[in-house]
């Protein structure tokens, strides 16, 4: 199956963000979130999503079908104009499943955030079911003063099941220069990945990248104080392992591994 989704968001004169394009198809269905204190906005001709609140527009990414299945080629593009603010949330975990011909499924995400824009990307976890082969590649281009929160969660197998194979690569450019390029890969097709240098005994692996240009002047070694990130306690325990990594730039990567999806979600929730 081939499917694509596209979100375009623009900042209005009143500072609110309007979704000028919101087009998806299964398994990449997009749902506009109801505004707080307002009725469900109709899909067509909706008013500016953050009108009156100054808040970000909000979109839900819903699977609408099983998968991704082996052989699926999925594409998602997100384009935020200058000053536009968007939150993308998930509805349910997606489960990568093997396809009929043993082929790989692939999800390509391309996001651009203009000057003064802010993107928060926090879909639900991806579960790599036994026998699955899945690859996600995300490329994010940020203007120099754009904000980004990017969350990734991988669950290695459903309950009591051996994991499938899955990889996720996130490449982030800021003002045209590479800020982060990181792939994690797990499963039987990635030798050594389930061992003590890979996932160890953990079944849930996740990360949270926060890019905030306000940190450009902070010392490059530390985690900015006052941020929720500074409340996270680095640890390397059998139940939860987490580190807070300051990148060579105004960005912090929280990398975490936990015994299960709920424990991982708690760690990452605490970072925002």
């Amino acid at each position: 199956m081939r499917a694509s989704a596209r979100i375009v968001a623009r900042c209005q004169a009143d500072g609110s963000t309007r979704l000028t394009t919101l087009a998806g198809e299964a398994p990449l269905l997009l749902r506009r979130a109801a505004r707080q204190g307002a009725k469900q906005a109709p899909d067509e001709g909706a008013p500016p999503d953050g009108a009156g609140t100054g808040g970000p527009a909000r979109v839900y990414l819903a699977g609408g079908t099983a998968g991704p299945l082996g052989g699926d080629e999925l594409r998602c593009s997100v384009d935020l104009g200058p000053g536009a603010r968007l939150e993308v949330h998930g509805v349910d975990a997606s489960v990568a499943l093997p396809g009929p011909h043993g082929r790989e499924s692939a999800l390509e995400i391309h996001a651009r955030v203009g000057e003064g824009g802010a993107l928060s990307w926090s879909p639900r976890p991806l579960v790599a079911a036994r026998g699955a082969r899945h690859r996600t590649v995300a490329r994010v281009e940020l203007a120099a003063d754009a904000l980004l929160v990017w969350r990734d969660e991988l669950i290695l197998g459903r309950d009591g099941e051996d994991p499938g194979s899955v990889s996720t690569r996130l490449r982030v450019l800021r003002a045209g220069r590479v800020l982060l390029d990181r792939e994690v890969a797990f499963g039987p097709r990635h030798p050594g990945s389930l061992g003590p240098a890979g996932s160890g005994a953990h079944r849930a692996i996740g990360s949270l990248l926060v890019v905030d240009p306000a940190w450009a002047s902070a010392p490059v070694d530390g985690v900015p104080s006052g941020s929720p990130l500074s409340r996270l306690t680095p640890q390397d325990e059998p139940a939860v392992a987490v580190a807070v990594l300051r990148l060579s730039g105004p960005a912090v990567l929280v990398t975490a591994a936990a015994s299960g999806a709920a424990a991982l979600a708690r760690v990452l929730d605490g970072a925002i």
């Binding site: 690569r169 490449r171 220069r177 590479v178 800020l179 982060l180 390029d181 990181r182 792939e183 994690v184 890969a185 990635h190 030798p191 050594g192 990945s193 061992g195 003590p196 240098a197 890979g198 996932s199 160890g200 005994a201 953990h202 692996i205 990360s207 070694d221 680095p234 390397d236 325990e237 059998p238 392992a241 987490v242 580190a243 807070v244 990594l245 300051r246 990148l247 060579s248 990567l253 990398t255 975490a256 591994a257």
Partner: protein, 234 residues
């Protein structure tokens, strides 16, 4: 390619500072993830196919880029491509502790190699960053001046990604050195495969070079900095 320069660069007695590092093994032992020969082998395999693959590809790319020498232009030696590789590797190393280790090892390696192969190229690469170039970039530059081809650089760095921690194992685990040799020998075919894939990737665009990391190594590396480790710097 002559084999002798490659053996010299890959020699663990080359004073490049690697003997002070366990490549995250000490922290993995402290966390209870590695406790015997079998878990050591699994650790080394994960290190090889993750950070070892990435580092080997960058070493090969640097060797490829610098083997033709450097262009000396009006503003001095042109190191734009090497600087781009260093920046790309930096972006692939999110852990500040691992970045610091990599730059320190790059700096030490260049000090050692410059004694044998002095010249403008290694001076320029040493100046890429105040803390030193990342280790794979330094290794690629060393390979270029010593006449080691990119494939050889990939092999040496892929092998080094497992021999470093392996040589720390007798001290950390009380393992018989012969048992460690057996583990390393059992990984020889995988080292060759990873090096070949890395050398192939090195011929592609810089932004597409491998970026495989290992979450538990990153997490453990920060724990090291927290002061849990006694024997090794990393």
């Amino acid at each position: 390619m002559s084999l002798i320069p490659l053996l010299l660069l890959a020699d663990s007695r080359l004073p490049g500072g690697t003997h002070a590092h366990s490549g995250g093994l000490e922290a993995a032992v402290a966390a209870g993830r590695v406790h015997d020969g079998e878990t050591l082998r699994a650790f080394l395999l994960g290190r090889l196919t993750g950070v070892g693959f990435t580092a080997a590809a960058f070493a090969a790319a640097a060797a490829l880029e610098l083997s033709g020498g450097l262009v000396v232009g009006e503003r001095g030696v042109q190191t734009r491509e090497a600087a781009a590789l260093d920046a790309e590797y930096d972006a692939r190393t999110p852990s500040p502790a691992q970045r610091a280790t990599s730059r320190a090892l790059g700096r030490h390696l260049l000090c050692a190699v410059r004694a044998g192969w002095p010249g403008v190229l290694l001076d320029a690469v040493a100046g890429l960053h105040p803390d030193g170039p990342h280790h794979p970039i330094a290794f690629g530059a060393a390979a270029a001046v010593a006449g080691v081809d990119p494939g050889g650089a990939a092999e040496a760095v892929a092998l080094g990604s497992v021999t470093g921690p392996a040589h720390a194992a007798p001290r950390l685990l009380g393992l018989d050195p012969d048992a460690v040799t057996a583990v390393l020998a059992s990984l020889a075919a995988q080292v060759e495969q990873v090096a070949a894939a890395a050398a192939k990737a090195a011929r592609g665009p810089v932004e597409e070079l491998p970026a495989v990391g290992a979450p538990l190594l990153e997490i453990a590396a920060q724990q090291v900095r927290g002061g849990q480790v006694r024997f090794f710097v990393s």
